[in-house]
Symmetry: C5
Subunit: 99 residues, 5 copies
């Protein structure tokens, strides 16, 4: 999994029928020091994520292991909203201290 920040959403009315009722979010990838990277992924949301959330996404066939994405043509899924992470015992990101 990689860490990403939800920065937007995609509207697509003409899509594979299996993707009806899925939420497609624009996710900017961050590195482990919480620096935004010049890469992104469009992921299906399975956990109620919204703009501004730091999330984890899983890619490839693993992206189809949630109830929402099972058997769908989806190669990236947000499967967790990140509360915090640390490196060597020091917090890199804490959701609640950011407000």
């Amino acid at each position: 999994m990689l860490i990403a920040k939800v920065v937007g959403s995609v509207v697509a009315t003409q899509k594979d029928e299996k993707l009806a009722n899925t939420k497609l979010l624009v996710c900017q990838i961050h590195n482990h020091n919480n620096e935004a990277q010049d890469s992104y992924v469009i992921a299906v949301d399975s956990v109620g994520a919204g703009t501004g959330d730091m999330v984890l996404y899983a890619a490839g066939s693993s992206a189809r292991q949630t109830n929402i994405t099972k058997d769908r043509p989806c190669d990236a899924v947000i499967m967790a909203i990140v509360d915090s992470w640390d490196m060597d015992g020091t917090d890199v990101f804490k959701k609640w201290s950011e407000a």
Copy 2:
């Protein structure tokens, strides 16, 4: 998934029999700011996309989850035509304002 622009198509008469009657499109990958990248993918169309359309494609085994690509040697499928996307509440791309 990644965002791409359909820029052309591939003709291939000699191909795996399971790929008969599929449309192979040349897709130039765009980033989340809608800038064309120096990378591409040849994807099977499952949604009626054509040249000039902004699309989403799924890669890997997820590319075989549409009715058109099931059990075929296809590692990329166009599974949505993009109407619009935003970043931080601002539209980056709108299909209908481009005409």
Copy 3:
């Protein structure tokens, strides 16, 4: 899928038994403007490709969806020989005009 040019072949007598009788081709990857890239893949041939042919290959689990590669430890398969492709209506490559 990506576009590649077949530039050679690999001989490997000591290999997994499931790979007996497969043809392993050296494929140099091209971009959508038909420029040779500094990357390659060794792919199993499923369509009778030979040196000099422009081909499409599929990677990952999709590479095991041909009759020749089913259930084999193969992560790349040539599944089409390219006749031509265009970008924005202009031919980038035509097989028959190259002779």
Copy 4:
């Protein structure tokens, strides 16, 4: 598989139900000369790894082949703690000589 060093952990209370009770570790990727690289992965632990351990992780669908990760939306798993490795007969890393 790639070699990585466990450098931290992720807390995520809101996540896919299949990921309950999994340990999510921040892994910095190292190269074969044991130099830290500017890339990372968040992996589920299946072997009792902790901060400071050098580990191997498997990615993609292979990350779901442990008892802990089976059928879960997880695309990276730590499946071994590295004791040592050598290159051309010379030890590059030895766990026990580092203390």
Copy 5:
């Protein structure tokens, strides 16, 4: 598949039980001109490869298609030892002329 040279091995006593009795080899990736690249993979051996051998490895789910790696958390397998390869009819590598 990619070409790699076996340059060492990994010792890992604490690992997923499904990986017992597998040989983990450090493989430096080469390009099609037989130049060593600054990238590597740790692969399970399925063909009796040893240090110094030029090999092919398969990645992803295809790495689990050998009898040795079936259903194991392994994302790279050595599935062939390379005897030789050519480009445009000229040998790039020949095992037996290197001694």
